[in-house]
């Protein structure tokens, strides 16, 4: 299958749009930010598969496989990021999915480096601009496609 997964990344709009799975893990009910991000990405020409609240790492992996997603986007507001985000990265790796995990929500600055070293592709916080959200997701997709 290696020949397929190393297909070149979409570089201009006539090629396939980037596909992003957006979800929240567990019981964290703050979905306002996730909805804002969904709309922002849509307006940037990205296809968002919106999973919303109460997902598990398994349900996200299953969706990624079926949807052939390029990026996993998680929104976290319940202080669980240090356990949940690495768990997501591991679940994707265990499923042999080379899909970058991008995180937004409430992540204290001092935790960012820990998350990055745990394999998270990028972390954004409150006040992130639309342009930042889009460029972060696109960069993650491009980087993964280049691997």
């Amino acid at each position: 299958m290696s020949g397929i997964s190393s297909c070149p990344a979409p570089a201009h709009p006539h090629e396939a749009p980037i596909r992003v799975v957006l979800a929240k893990l567990g019981l964290d009910g703050h979905d306002r930010g996730l909805k804002v991000v969904a709309r922002t990405l849509r307006d940037a020409g990205i296809e968002v598969i919106y999973l919303g609240l109460r997902q598990t790492t398994d349900s996200i992996v299953a969706a990624c496989e079926q949807e052939d997603a390029d990026v996993i986007g998680l929104s976290m507001h319940n202080a669980g990021h240090l356990t949940l985000a690495p768990r997501m990265v591991k679940a994707a790796r265990d499923a042999a999915l080379d899909v970058p995990v991008v995180i937004g929500g409430i992540v204290p600055a001092e935790d960012v480096a820990t998350l990055i070293s745990a394999g998270v592709a990028a972390v954004l916080g409150p006040g992130a601009s639309a342009a930042q959200v889009v460029s972060t997701v696109k960069a993650a997709a491009l980087q993964a496609a280049g691997r």
Partner: protein
């Protein structure tokens, strides 16, 4: 000869590997590349799955019903293709059908969300090929949920064996019921959100419309459902199966599928001809004719006719 990557993908997909299925669907969604090779191969193995179309107005409950139906079918490998609209401005999309299905559909199901990517009619260009791939790798039934549609988007009827139209109480009255369009292509009706007032009224309006319709050998049944409560879903599935049986026994299944393939070839020819059309209009004769149209010496229609006649290889220009 060692197996090609595509051989391996098909083999894995046939064995139920979700990731391989996902990759194949991405390939048919992307014109050029391997799309035609995937389609070619899938076509030779396809033709077994029942294809059920689910359509109706935005928010009628199509996704909720579709997820429930996949579970109610009791099938080993049901698949869902769920279509939502792409933004005409940016090409982006929020695909939100899956979130309505995931919780109750069961882990044996396969769900793929697809954006319309500029296609009208509530479907995406790649839908026939995507159905073909799912069929070829052993999924059955294949449930196709259209984007929310109005009265005139009926292309699902040409893409499915059985077309189900979902309406809700208060969707209209007897006048709407008799307008041409969506309701005419239904093989089965679901009146969903039957927990709301006047579901029976909605059913009555549909039955009245059917009473006035042409006497056929199949009268579309009308089933009340509350999809969120899983009520009426078994009955709905029974009616869909009854329709499938009817299609088989009457020989209509073969005719429908034949027509479907014919339509697809026609679509492909049209797509191919578009390039030729641009050649004609960009040619010297084309720009001359366009000039005459702009000076109001000839109508667009006659100019097109003349250009077509003179460019037709069977009737070469006389001069």
């Amino acid at each position: 000869m060692s197996p090609t990557p595509l051989d391996e993908l098909f083999e894995a997909a046939a064995a139920g590997n979700r990731r391989a299925m996902g990759k194949l669907l991405t390939m048919v969604e992307q014109p050029g590349g391997a799309a035609s090779e995937v389609s070619e191969r899938a076509h030779r193995q396809a033709g077994h799955a029942r294809v059920i179309g689910i359509t109706g107005a935005p928010g009628a409950g199509k996704s909720t019903i579709t997820g429930r139906l996949a579970a109610a079918s009791g099938a080993e490998r049901p698949a869902v293709l769920a279509i939502d609209p792409s933004s005409p401005l940016t090409g982006g999309a929020v695909l939100g059908d899956r979130v309505r299905m995931d919780n109750h559909i069961g882990s044996s199901s396969f769900i793929r969300s697809m954006a319309t990517r500029g296609h009208a009619g509530g479907l995406a260009v790649a839908v026939p090929d995507a159905v073909r791939v799912l069929d070829a790798v052993g999924c059955d039934p294949v449930l196709v949920e259209t984007a929310g549609v109005g009265q005139v988007e009926v292309s699902i009827a040409a893409a499915a064996d059985t077309t189900m139209v979902v309406v809700t109480p208060g969707w209209g009255d007897a006048v709407q019921a008799n307008k041409a369009g969506l309701l005419e292509v239904a093989d089965v009706f679901a009146v969903n959100k039957a927990d709301r007032p006047d579901a029976r009224g909605a059913r009555r309006d549909l039955e009245l419309m059917l009473d006035l319709g042409p006497e056929g050998d199949w009268r579309p049944p009308v089933v009340l459902t509350i999809a969120t409560e899983n009520e009426g879903i078994e009955a709905l599935w029974v009616e869909i199966e009854r329709h499938t049986a009817h299609l088989r026994e009457s020989g209509a299944l073969g005719r429908r599928r034949g027509l479907r393939l014919r339509n697809e070839v026609v679509d492909r020819i049209e797509l191919g001809l578009r390039g030729r059309v641009l050649q004609i209009i960009d040619s010297e004769a084309g720009s001359k004719a366009l000039g005459r149209v702009e000076r109001r010496e000839v109508s667009p229609g006659s100019a097109a006719e003349a250009l077509l006649a003179s460019s037709n290889p069977q009737h070469p220009e006389e001069s």
